[in-house]
C-alpha cells in the first residue's frame, strides 16, 4: 500500500456571489482512512463535498483522485473511477425493492446495460452480490420490500448498501446519520467502522461523538479553508478551533 493520498485537493475555490464557499482549500485523504470534515455552519462543508463529487464546478484549484486530475470530470465518471457520494437526502428508486436498488448499483459496474433479453431480476450476477451487500448492512430480511415500505433509517442503510455494492475506493458522506435515532446511528457507525482500511471516507459530521469514535483524521473547515488538520484529540485540544467553533474556549 502506497503512502500517496487517494484524494488530493489543492487550492480549491468557489464563490457564490460575495460568499466564499471555498477559499484556497487544500487537504488530502489517505487510502482506507476515515477523514472527518468539521466546521461551523456556513463553513463550506457541503460545497466541498459537491465539488468533490462533481456536482458543483470549482472556480479554481485542483482535485486529484488516485493521481488523476478529476477537477472537471462529470459525476458519473468519477463514480466509475471509484469515488462515490452518498446523499443526505435519500435518493433511491422508490418503486423498486431494496434488492432491485442494490442490483441497479451493481449493474452500473458491470459494463454496459444494452442487454435486452435476460430478465434482470433472475440474473445471478446481479442478485447474489446484491444480497451480500444487503447482508453487510443488515437489511437481508428486507430484500423484497419496496423502498416505500422501509423506515427512514433502513432507507439510509440501503443507500449505504448501494454505495458499497459498487466497491468504491473512496466515499463522500455528507452527514450520513442525519435524522437517525440512537440505535440506527450505532448501526451505521458499525458499518462505517467495518470499512476502515478498505474504503477511504471523507465524512462531514456535526455530531462530535461520532467524529471522535470513527475518525482517524479531522480537518476543521472555517470560511472555506482548512484551519487545521490533526487527530481527533489534537483538534479537540486546539484553542483556535475552540474559538472558531464555540466562541471563546
Amino acid at each position: 500500500m502506497t503512502a500517496d493520498p487517494i484524494l488530493q485537493v489543492t487550492g480549491l475555490t468557489k464563490h457564490f456571489g460575495a460568499v466564499r464557499a471555498a477559499d484556497d482549500l487544500t487537504f488530502s485523504v489517505k487510502r482506507g482512512e476515515i477523514h472527518a470534515l468539521i466546521g461551523p455552519n456556513g463553513a463550506g462543508k457541503s460545497t466541498t463535498i459537491g465539488q468533490l463529487s462533481g456536482e458543483i464546478r470549482p472556480d479554481g484549484g485542483r482535485v486529484a483522485f488516485n493521481g488523476r486530475d478529476i477537477t472537471r470530470m462529470p459525476t458519473y465518471r468519477r463514480a466509475r473511477k471509484g469515488l462515490q457520494r452518498s446523499y443526505q437526502i435519500t435518493s433511491l428508486f422508490p418503486e423498486f425493492t431494496a434488492e432491485d436498488n442494490v442490483a441497479m448499483a451493481i449493474q452500473s459496474q458491470q459494463g454496459h446495460s444494452f442487454r435486452f433479453w435476460t430478465r434482470a431480476r433472475r440474473d445471478r450476477a446481479l442478485r447474489l452480490p446484491a444480497r451480500e451487500a444487503l447482508r453487510r448492512v443488515g437489511l437481508e430480511d428486507m430484500a423484497n420490500l419496496k423502498v416505500t415500505e422501509l423506515a427512514h433509517g433502513q432507507q439510509r442503510q440501503l443507500e449505504l448498501a448501494m454505495t458499497l455494492a459498487t466497491e468504491p475506493s473512496m466515499l463522500l458522506l455528507d452527514e450520513p446519520m442525519a435524522g437517525m435515532g440512537r440505535r440506527e446511528t450505532q448501526g451505521m457507525m458499525e458499518i462505517l467502522r467495518s470499512l476502515k482500511g478498505d474504503v477511504a471516507i471523507l465524512l462531514v459530521e456535526h455530531d462530535m461523538d461520532v467524529v471522535f469514535a470513527l475518525a482517524d483524521v479531522v480537518s476543521v473547515l472555517v470560511k472555506g479553508s482548512v484551519q487545521m488538520t490533526g487527530t481527533p484529540d489534537e483538534v479537540r485540544d486546539d484553542t483556535e478551533v475552540r474559538r472558531a467553533y464555540l466562541g471563546d474556549g
Binding site: 458519473y76 457520494r85 428508486f93 441497479m104 452500473s108 442487454r115 435486452f116 435476460t118 446481479l126
Partner: protein, 329 residues
C-alpha cells in the same frame, strides 16, 4: 389459485384470437375491420408506453413516427402502382408492394427519424422535452402538407395493399390475424425488454434520473435507444394503418393524433404493456358507439379525459388487476 393478472391476460388473449370467428358467427364481419383498427392503434399505444410509461418520456411527437411508417408504405405503393421512379433516391427504383420489404423499411425509416429527432429532443428535459417533441412532429406535419408530390394536405390514396406471400391482405380476417400476430409479438418483445437490464435502466430513469446518473449510467444513450425502439414500433403500426384505410394523410402526424395515442396509454394504464391495448380498445369503441348517438360525442370525451387524469390515474388495467398492476417481473 391463479392471479388476477393472469386471468385478465388470458381473457384478453382469448378475445383477441377469437374475435373474427365470433364476428362471423354473429353475422357482423364488419366488426373484424373495426377490431383491426383497434389492434393497430394498440400497437402504436404499446410502443408509446415503452417510453412514456416505463421511461417517463412524455413524447408528444409519437404520431410523427406512426405517420412516417404509413408514408413509407404509401410512397412505395404509389410509385409501384404508377411505375415511376422515386425521385429522391439514387437509381430507378419504382417502389414495391411487397410487405416483406415495405414493412421492415417502414420500421427502419421511422427508427432513423426517431434517432435524429430523439438525439436532439433528449438533450432537453421536462416541459421542454414535451414541447420540442411536439414541435418536431408539427414540423414533419407541415412539411408533408406543403409537399404536393405525395398528396400535400389531401393525402395519398393507396390503390393496392401490401402483399404477403401465401396470404391475401384484402381478406379482412387474414389481415386481422396478421395484425394480431404482430401486436402480440411486439408486446412480448416489450415485456422482455422491460424486464431486462436495459429495461431496468429505463425504469430507474423514470423513478430517479439523478441517481442513475450518479451511479454512472450515461442515461442519454439508453433513453435514445428506447426512443428509437418505440419509434420503430410506431412505424410498423403506421405501415399497417396505411393498408387498413388504403389512405395516407399528414393528419396521422398531427400533434392531436399523438395526444390521442397518449390518451389511450393513460386511459388503459401506463407502464403496463397490456394497459394501452385496453386503452386503445376503449377509446375507439367509445368513438364508434358514441358517434352513433351524436356527432358531437367529443364533448363527452373531453371531460371524461379530465376525469380520468384527475381521479383514475392507474387506468383501466389498474382497475381490473388491482394491486398486481405494479408487478411486472
Amino acid at each position: 389459485m391463479p392471479r388476477r393478472k393472469t386471468f385478465v391476460h388470458a381473457i384478453g388473449l382469448l378475445i383477441m384470437l377469437a374475435l373474427p370467428l365470433a364476428a362471423d358467427a354473429a353475422g357482423e364481419p364488419f366488426l373484424t375491420t373495426v377490431a383491426s383498427r383497434v389492434l393497430i392503434y394498440a400497437l402504436v399505444a404499446v410502443s408509446l408506453d415503452l417510453i412514456l410509461g416505463f421511461g417517463a418520456m412524455v413524447s408528444f411527437g409519437h404520431g410523427a413516427f406512426f405517420g412516417i411508417g404509413a408514408f413509407v408504405v404509401g410512397i412505395l405503393t404509389h410509385h409501384s402502382y404508377e411505375a415511376t421512379a422515386i425521385a429522391f433516391l439514387p437509381g430507378d427504383w419504382t417502389g414495391t408492394t411487397a410487405a416483406l420489404i415495405q414493412w421492415p423499411l417502414a420500421m427502419v425509416i421511422a427508427g432513423l427519424f426517431a434517432l435524429v429527432i430523439g438525439a436532439m429532443c433528449l438533450r432537453t428535459s421536462g416541459v421542454y422535452f414535451i414541447m420540442i417533441t411536439l414541435a418536431f412532429a408539427q414540423m414533419l406535419y407541415y412539411f408533408m402538407t406543403s409537399l404536393p408530390t405525395y398528396g400535400g394536405q389531401d393525402g395519398l390514396n393507396l390503390w393496392e395493399r401490401s402483399t404477403l406471400p401465401l396470404l391475401d391482405m384484402y381478406d379482412d380476417t387474414q389481415f386481422y390475424y396478421v395484425t394480431c400476430a404482430l401486436l402480440l409479438a411486439f408486446m412480448a418483445l416489450a415485456r422482455r425488454i422491460v424486464g431486462s437490464r436495459f429495461g431496468m435502466v429505463l425504469r430507474g430513469c423514470k423513478q430517479n434520473e439523478t441517481r442513475m446518473k450518479a451511479l454512472g449510467f450515461p442515461v442519454y444513450r439508453y433513453k435514445l435507444a428506447a426512443f428509437v425502439i418505440a419509434g420503430m414500433g410506431a412505424g410498423l403500426a403506421g405501415a399497417l394503418a396505411a393498408n387498413h384505410t388504403e389512405f395516407v394523410g399528414p393528419g396521422l402526424m398531427h400533434w392531436t393524433r399523438s395526444g390521442e395515442i397518449m390518451v389511450m396509454v393513460i386511459l388503459g394504464g401506463m407502464g403496463t404493456i397490456f394497459g394501452p391495448v385496453l386503452g386503445a380498445a376503449t377509446l375507439l369503441m367509445m368513438e364508434e358507439t358514441l358517434s352513433g348517438f351524436t356527432e358531437h360525442w367529443m364533448v363527452f370525451l373531453g371531460p371524461f379525459l379530465v376525469f380520468v387524469v384527475l381521479f383514475a390515474r392507474k387506468g383501466l388495467y389498474g382497475w381490473l388487476v388491482g394491486r398486481e398492476a405494479d408487478d411486472d417481473g
